[in-house]
Amino acid sequence: MALTREQMAQRVAGELKDGFYVNLGIGIPTLVANYVPVGMEVMLQSENGLLGMGPFPTEDEIDPDMINAGKQTVTARIGASIMDSAEAFAMIRGGHIDLTVLGAFQVDVLGNIASWMVPGKLIKGMGGAMDLVAGAENIIVTMTHASKDGESKLLQRCTLPLTGAGCIKRILTDLAYLEIDQGAFVLKERAPGVSVGEIVEKTAGELVVPDHVPEMRFA
């Protein structure tokens, strides 16, 4: 069975470590915050200028001056700090964020990522995505393995305009966890009940399949 969005978030949460500063993108990455293991402390960064994002507010706590990078009303947790946008991105570009999780349209075997623009469709902008992929060492891309039409999103070369070149090493899809090494995807884990054959079939880029591919475990 392909993973649900929640299961994907849960698997990514297994990569968190105590004391991590983490930037979560919009969509599935945002859900990772729900699966931080009990007793572990992580600090969520929001690139508009908040380090230490708390939960969404109650009706009484809503404050128009406190929002996240998705423009949603949020709260600040104890220990949070607030800074201007240049400083928020200095943290990102200076490599201070321990883990970045974001979505994508396509990733290829060279670690290129396309996530912001589909030619012919309206271009809305890249927001902070280009800064995040260029600045972070440790990035996990979350996306479905194939599009709704069945086209693989793991390619030999991205066909859409890039968000960043050569910056992705780790990908979690609804079918598998993969890493990129020496110009190929390496299949590291498969979703429970998903066959290696299905993953091979739905991966367009070069894929290395080790002799043993364990089933994914959840944090």
Binding site: T58, K71, S85
Partner: protein, 232 residues
């Protein structure tokens, strides 16, 4: 003598000298911390052919979206413009030009502009369409793109509190691009919720020192929320 008293008494006075074709830097992220009354005054004034530098372009009928209604903006420099149907229409009709800039690069361009740094190298955008035609250099084996600083004829800024010297503090994440815009404007106009007595703000707390501020005005704000989100 006014000394360092930056206060003006009307919004008309606050934007005196703003002319057609100028570049305006605007603080704010989404609708958070936007100089909403200064934007409304630009609409009233009818200034045209503006280049506006702001992370977003408001929404239909509020914030910078107001300036689209009478086609006052010729060019937008932004990182994300997806919240605005009129923007989309004018872009498709070729009435509006947009220069999409990564959010961190946009912030750094303003910071550099205010700090007298003409350009800087960044890894952001290397190998992507936004690096096309730009100088690339390698440092320690990695590629970086040369990006130029941005300054504005005017900067319009929203603060929380200020004293008459133009020392400004911001509230929560309404800070965002505001201090960056403030430093990069030839004429910087700040509107705040409250003007306090000198000495009330701790010197060490000031986020925009008065040296960057030319005009200061106190306003009332709607503070519209773009995505009201609550927990269960």
């Amino acid at each position: 003598m006014a000394g360092f008293d930056k206060r003006v008494t009307s919004y008309e006075q606050a934007l005196e000298g703003l002319e057609d074709g100028m570049t305006v830097l605007a603080g704010g992220f989404g609708l958070c911390g936007i100089p909403e009354n200064l934007i409304a005054e630009i609409k009233r004034k009818g200034t045209k052919n503006l280049t506006v530098v702001s992370n977003n372009c408001g929404v239909d009928g509020f914030g910078l979206g107001l300036l689209l209604e009478d086609r006052q903006i010729r060019k937008m420099i932004s990182s994300y413009v997806g919240e605005n149907a009129l923007f989309e229409k004018q872009l498709l009709d070729g009435e509006l030009e947009v220069e999409l800039t990564p959010q961190g690069t946009l912030a750094e361009k303003m910071r550099a502009g205010g700090a007298g740094v003409p350009a800087f190298y960044t890894a952001t955008g290397y190998g992507t369409p936004i690096a096309e035609g730009k100088e690339v250099r390698q440092f320690d084996g990695r590629h970086y793109v040369l990006e130029h600083a941005i300054t504005g004829d005017f900067a319009i800024v929203k603060g929380w509190k200020a004293d008459k010297y133009g020392n400004v503090i911001y509230r929560h994440t309404a800070r965002n691009f505001n201090p960056l815009a403030a430093a990069a404007g030839k004429i910087t106009v700040v509107e705040v919720e409250e003007i306090v007595e000198p000495g009330e703000l701790e010197p060490g707390e000031i986020q925009t020192p008065g040296i960057y501020v030319d005009r200061l005005i106190c306003g009332t704000f709607e503070k519209r929320i773009e995505k009201r989100t609550v927990r269960d």
